[in-house]
C-alpha cells in the first residue's frame, strides 16, 4: 500500500493558528446552540421563499464539490492508472473526508427536525422519486467510504507509532494521576497489535471501496444539480436546464482538481515544504479540458433552449453568468500554457480562479439565480456566515492536527529525477 510514500509533518500541534481557528469554531458552536434553542430563524435570514440559504448552497453544494479532490484524484490514480500521483492521495482523501463530514454536519444544523433523520434508514419511508433521498444516502455512504479509505493511514500510525506524545503527556501528569507504566505499555502493545492485524485485511479489500469512492460521488454530485430540476418556475432560465446533473458532475471534477492544486501549494507554503510542481502541473493540465467541455455543454444547451440572448443581455443575471464564465476561461487559459504550469504562483492563481468560477456556478444555481416570486429577498445574516466560517475553520484545524499525527503528506524527495530514472516502467500505459 505504498506506506513509504507518506510522512508525518513534524511540529507542535498547539500553534497560534490552532487557537485562532479554535476561537472561530467556538463562536460557531455558540451560534449553533442558539439555533437549536430558538429555531432556525433565530440566527438566519432564510424565509419561506428562500428555504435554502447559505448553509445549503455554500456548505453543502459548494463545499462538497470543493471536497471532490479525493474523488477526482481517486479516478486519476486508480482508474486512469496514474500511480505517480499516489503520494498525493492521502491529503486529498483527508480534505474530502472533512469536507463531506462537515457538509453533513451543516445539513444537520440546517434541517428543522434532525431527530427524524433516522427515517432515511426506514425502507417504508423511502421516497425514491426524491433527488434529496438519493443525495442524502449517497453522501452518507460516501463519508463512510472516505473514512474507510483513510483508515490504512491511521492503522499504520497506530501500528508503528512510538506514542511519544502520549508518553510525554503521561509523564507530565502528577504522580497520583499518572497511569501505571506497565499497564500502559500493555495497552499500547495491544492497540498496535490489533491495528497490525486489521490493516492487511483492509488493504486487500480497499480496492472495492476505492471503486465505490468513485461511483458514489459520480451519483450524488450530479444529483446535487438534479435537486434544482424541480424549480421549473423559480430558477432563472440561464441555469435551469435538463443538463444540470451533467454540468454539476463536470463542475465538481474540475473544482476537485483545482482544490488539489490550491491545497497542495497552500500547505507547501505554510509548512515550508518543497512544491509538488511535477504532480500539480500534471493535475493542472487536466482542468482546461474539463472546463472546455463544461463551457461547450453550457453554451450548447443555451443555444438549444434559445437562451443565448439572455446570457448576453447584460442584466444582473447575465452579468453574473458572464463573470462566472470569465473566471473559468481566465483560469483555464493560464493552465493551457505549459510554462505557466511550472510556476507555483501561476498555478495557484489559476486554481483560485477556477475555484471561484466553479463555486460561483453552484451559488448561481442554488441562490443567485433562484427567485421564488415577488416580495422575497435573501442575503445571509452575520451569524449564518459565522457558522459557515467556523465550519471551514474546523476543517483547517482538523487537517492541521491530523497531518502531524498520521502520515498524510507526500514524502519529500520521493520523485527526485535520479530516483525517477531508476524505475521506468517496462510498458507505457496510455489510456
Amino acid at each position: 500500500m505504498h506506506h513509504h510514500e507518506f510522512e508525518k509533518q513534524e511540529g507542535n500541534i498547539l500553534t497560534r493558528s490552532f487557537f485562532v481557528l479554535l476561537a472561530l469554531v467556538m463562536i460557531g458552536a455558540c451560534l449553533v446552540v442558539i439555533r437549536f434553542a430558538k429555531g432556525v430563524g433565530a440566527i438566519t435570514n432564510m424565509s419561506d421563499g428562500y428555504p435554502w440559504g447559505l448553509w445549503l448552497s455554500y456548505d453543502v453544494a459548494v463545499g462538497s464539490a470543493m471536497a471532490c479532490g479525493g474523488y477526482a484524484m481517486g479516478f486519476l490514480i486508480y482508474i486512469r492508472n496514474r500511480m505517480r500521483y499516489h503520494p498525493m492521495i492521502r491529503s486529498c482523501l483527508l480534505t474530502s473526508m472533512f469536507g463531506y463530514a462537515l457538509a453533513g454536519l451543516s445539513v444537520m444544523i440546517d434541517i428543522g427536525r434532525p431527530w427524524n433523520a433516522y427515517n432515511f434508514f426506514v425502507p417504508s419511508r423511502w421516497q425514491i422519486n426524491s433527488v434529496m433521498f438519493e443525495v442524502a444516502m449517497c453522501i452518507m455512504g460516501y463519508t463512510v467510504v472516505l473514512i474507510i479509505e483513510f483508515m490504512p493511514a491511521v492503522l499504520y500510525s497506530l501500528e508503528t507509532s512510538k506514542w511519544r506524545r502520549l508518553r510525554e503527556f503521561a509523564d507530565s501528569l502528577p504522580p497520583f494521576l499518572a497511569p501505571d507504566k506497565v499497564k500502559m505499555e500493555a495497552h499500547i502493545q495491544r492497540v498496535s497489535n490489533t491495528a497490525g492485524l486489521i490493516r492487511p485485511i483492509l488493504e486487500k479489500a480497499l480496492v472495492f471501496f476505492i471503486a465505490l469512492g468513485v461511483t458514489l460521488p459520480t451519483m450524488h454530485q450530479s444529483s446535487l444539480g438534479s435537486l434544482l430540476l424541480i424549480a421549473v418556475t423559480k430558477l432563472h432560465p440561464l441555469w435551469h436546464t435538463g443538463f444540470l446533473p451533467l454540468l454539476f458532475l463536470i463542475n465538481c471534477i474540475y473544482l476537485g482538481y483545482a482544490m488539489v492544486v490550491f491545497e497542495s501549494i497552500f500547505s507547501s507554503h505554510a509548512y515550508k515544504r518543497p512544491y509538488e510542481i511535477r504532480e500539480l502541473s500534471g493535475v493542472g493540465s487536466i482542468i482546461p479540458w474539463l472546463t472546455a467541455l463544461w463551457l461547450a455543454v453550457t453554451f450548447g444547451d443555451l443555444a438549444y433552449r434559445h437562451q443565448l440572448a439572455a446570457a448576453f443581455c447584460l442584466d444582473f443575471y447575465s452579468c453574473v453568468f458572464l463573470v462566472n464564465v470569465a473566471l473559468l476561461v481566465a483560469g483555464s487559459l493560464i493552465l493551457v500554457g505549459a510554462k505557466n504550469r511550472k510556476s507555483p504562483r501561476r498555478l495557484f492563481a489559476a486554481a483560485v480562479l477556477i475555484i471561484l468560477g466553479g463555486g460561483l456556478y453552484r451559488m448561481c444555481v442554488y441562490l443567485i439565480g433562484f427567485n421564488p416570486g415577488a416580495g422575497w429577498r435573501y442575503f445571509p445574516s452575520v451569524s449564518e456566515v459565522m457558522v459557515s466560517v467556523s465550519i471551514v475553520a474546523f476543517e483547517i484545524l482538523a487537517y492541521q492536527v491530523l497531518i502531524k499525527l498520521v502520515p498524510v503528506l507526500p514524502r519529500v524527495g520521493l520523485h527526485d529525477p535520479e530516483t525517477l530514472g531508476t524505475n521506468k516502467p517496462k510498458q507505457t500505459v496510455t489510456a
Binding site: P51, M83, F133, T233, G242, S281
Partner: protein, 311 residues
Amino acid sequence: MERQQSRRGFLKTVGVGAGALVVAPVAQASSEAAPHLNDEEIGMLYDATKCVGCKACMSACKRENNEKGNLECERGAFDKNETPLWDAPNDLSGNNRTVIKLYKEAGHPWSYVKFSCMHCQNPACVSVCPVSALTKDKQTGVVSYNKNACVGCRYCQLACPFNIPKFQWDRAIPQIVKCNFCKETYLKKKGISACADACPTGAILFGKRKDLLQEAHGRLAAHPDKYQPTIYGENEVGGVNHLYLAGVPFAKLGLPALPEAAPPQFSEKIMHTIYKGFVAPVALYATLCLIALRNLKRDKASPHPIEKGDE
C-alpha cells in the same frame, strides 16, 4: 497492447453510454405527454367575486386545526371558554394555513383572494420529499403532511410553484404547515372543510373536482362579462384541485402564471432515466472495480509508470 486497445474501446463504450444516458432523458423530458387527470378527487372552488372578505374561513381553519404544538393560538388566562384569541395574520405562515388578501389598485376593480394549498394532481412537494412526509391520498387526492416523518429539509418549500408549505422558523421543534382539507379534523366529522362550511356567501365550494369544474364552467358561461375567461388551476402545473374564478386577472391576485406541465414530470423523467432499475450505477461500479483491480495488479508488477503526454 491488444489488451490495452480493448480497454480503451471499453472505456469509450462506457463513456458514450454514459453520455447517451444523460442526453436522452433531457430530450424526452420536454416531450412527455400529460398524465391523465383524476377528476374524482376532492377539491375546492373559490369564487373571488362572491367573497366579501369576512375571514370567517380563517378563524374556522384555526379553530379546527389547532393541533397541540402546531398552530399558534394565544390563549389568555382570562379566556375561560376554550376559544383562542383572534389574530390577524397577513400571509400564510407556520401558524396559518389559509389567508384572505385584498387586491386594490387605483382605477381597477378590487378583489379579495384566498390562499391555501392547491392540492396539485401531480404535487411537486410529494415528488421531492425524501422521507414520504408529504403524501397524496390515492382516493381523495388530498396532499397531507406527517410531522413524524419530516426531517425539516424544506425541499417541499423550494419545489412548490405556489410557495404554499410554510416552515416554523421561530421554533426549536418546527414543522411544515399547510392546508390538508381538514383531513384529520373537520372533514372526518362533517365531510367538508371547515373554511368552506364557514363561508357565509358560498364563495368556497367543496366537492369533487368534476362537479366543481362543471359549476365553474356554468358560471363562466352565464356571466362572461363578470369573470376572467379561464378557471385558474384547471390546467396549471398539470391541474390542481383548488380552483379559482375571479373578476380581475389572476396574476394581479398573486396567482402566478404557470406552465401546464407539472414540475415533477420534468425532474422525475430525467432521474428515472438515469437511475432506471439502478442498472447504470451498478454497471459503473462493476466497471470501476475491474479497472482498479487490474491497475493495482499492474502496479505491483511495475510500480510508478510514468506517462508521456500528460505533462
